[in-house]
Each structure stands twice: as C-alpha cells, then as structure tokens.
Symmetry: C2
Subunit: 183 residues, 2 copies
Amino acid sequence: MTIKFCSQCGSEKIELRSPPGDDRTREICGACGHIHYVNPKIVVGSIPAWGEQILLCKRAIQPRYGKWTLPAGFMEENETLAEGAMRETLEEAGARITVEKLYASYSLPEISQVYVLFLAKLDDLNYAAGIESLEVRLFSEHEIPWQELAFATIGEALKRYFADRAEGVYAPHFADLRRTPKK
Amino acid sequence: MTIKFCSQCGSEKIELRSPPGDDRTREICGACGHIHYVNPKIVVGSIPAWGEQILLCKRAIQPRYGKWTLPAGFMEENETLAEGAMRETLEEAGARITVEKLYASYSLPEISQVYVLFLAKLDDLNYAAGIESLEVRLFSEHEIPWQELAFATIGEALKRYFADRAEGVYAPHFADLRRTPKK
C-alpha cells in the first residue's frame, strides 16, 4: 500500500482490489470509490559531450552519495523529455546543453522507472556543481570511474556511448535492466 | 490541486508550496509534511505490422470514442516498456506481437504524457477487438483513415512510419506535440 487515506474524501477504508474491467489490483477507496492509480516514473537526463570528453556529476545526495552519475532526474509535469534533460543538466551540473538525439531508453521494472537519456553537446565550459552535486568534471574515456558509477543505467549508457563512438554511429537503443533475472 | 486530503495522515491541510531546495510548487501536507509528487505518465504501444498492413483499433471508450488508434495505453508498475506495449496490444487488439524497435518518443507537455511506440510484427492473424475496442482491422497505407484518427500522436507516428518505409530505413525519432504553440 502506498496510501493510508483517500486523497479525495479522507476515508481510511482503502481496499486492494481490481476495478471492474481491470485485471490489476489498485488502491481503491471503500467510501467514495476513488481509484488511486500509480504508474512508472521517467528519469530524464543527458550525456553532455565536450569534444572527446563527457561531463559527470559526483552525487551529494542519497542514494549513492559520492558516486558519479550523468545529470538526470525525475521528469516534471508540463515539460518535454528534452526540456527535462536540459533542466536536470542545469540543476545538477550548472551546464547548458544543446540536445541532439534521444539515445537510451532503459526500463527498470523492479523500481518502476524508465530512464531516457539524450546525446547532448555542452554549449560552453561554464559548468559548476549544483546543490545535489559534490563535484562536476569532464572525463575522457580512459578516465571514466567505472567502479564508482552511481547506477547500472549510467554504466550501460556510457559503455554503449563509447562503443558507438568507436563505430562512428550513435544508435538509439532500448534495454531492460534488472537486478535479479526475470522469472 | 489534485488531492483534498493527505494520503499519509488524512489531514485536510494541503498547502501549495515549494519544499526546501526545490523550485517547484508541490502539494504538501501542513500537518505531517508529506510531499505529494505528481509526475508525467507514459503511454506505451505498438505499430503492429503484417506485411504491408498495419493493425488499428476503433476505440470503444472515451475520449475519442469511435476513432481509430494504434494499440496503446498507460504503462503499469513493474513492467518494461516492451512488456507494456505487448500487453496493450493484447488487451486492445487481442493480438500477439514481436517487438522490434523503440521507434517513436513523443512528449505532450500540456497533458504531461510521454508516448513510447514500438515497431512490431504481428505473430499471426488471430486478432480480435478487446473490451476497449469496437473493431480491429488491418489497413494498407492508402486505406488509413487519416481524418478519423484518435490522437495527434497516432497520425504523427503513422506519417513517419510510411515515410520511413518509402526510404527503406525506420529511424527512431522524438518529437514534442503541443495543441497550442509554445510561448
């Protein structure tokens, strides 16, 4: 259960059952009938490039405090995917980017998240750690702290990025990332 | 306001303000402090092909009752994008597909939705209208009911699909779809 009270009538009679014509269990108010839908969230971000280098942020927040990540965060209401990627890059890395291509779409079904990462070019070198970052810096491929990356999504995206760069073609791709193998 | 009562403590003291370190207005409980985040939803679906033909569904539900659409719907918790596309295609069109490529990503910022559509091949011709469809049938390009499509996203995806087919390359793409031009 994610809720204890109905958001519409305040009743504490929350029932776990399937609405008519639906085969999924939902949190439904036993008093007013309101269905509290919960859906996956989008994490949107960028792979900001400056020549041969990529900008990474060292996290100043949990989870994965002190680990390195691409600038990314929860997409907000009333913005586009690209706007979200630009906003997160500005918030976390103080950096302005030009979005080029939607590059990676990763499903994380165990935590109901979808990552969407864009290829982007840094507009200039005026970057700086935002409130959620300890440090922001450019990395060449051989400098990437592979063992110190915050999330599997970031390692996957960077691995593909450098492999695609070696091939000369950045191919949009999707993948499913699970901590435990699918049953 | 999307809520009237706190989902965690039941209080009616819901305030619209920004949490510390956040520049967005959120619905926050004045009693227990719980922040009720709201984020965009993902609509996931497929472009199911059978040779030169595409499978469309005539909607049996609002909005756009009686209009034609690709099988698509809200992504659910604990599924992947591809699983969601397969599930929606089975639910709405009674059809089993093999997902090939993540093809279209559309942001609809005015209604906080992101459409993700996959290229797919029908596994067989055993399709049938699900509970949310009046009719399901295959269309050749010249038969597509362009004036009777349910959503702008569907027209955009089909337009790109047939253009790409003529070129011989299906290029994953993203776009922003607004009803009113951006200010």
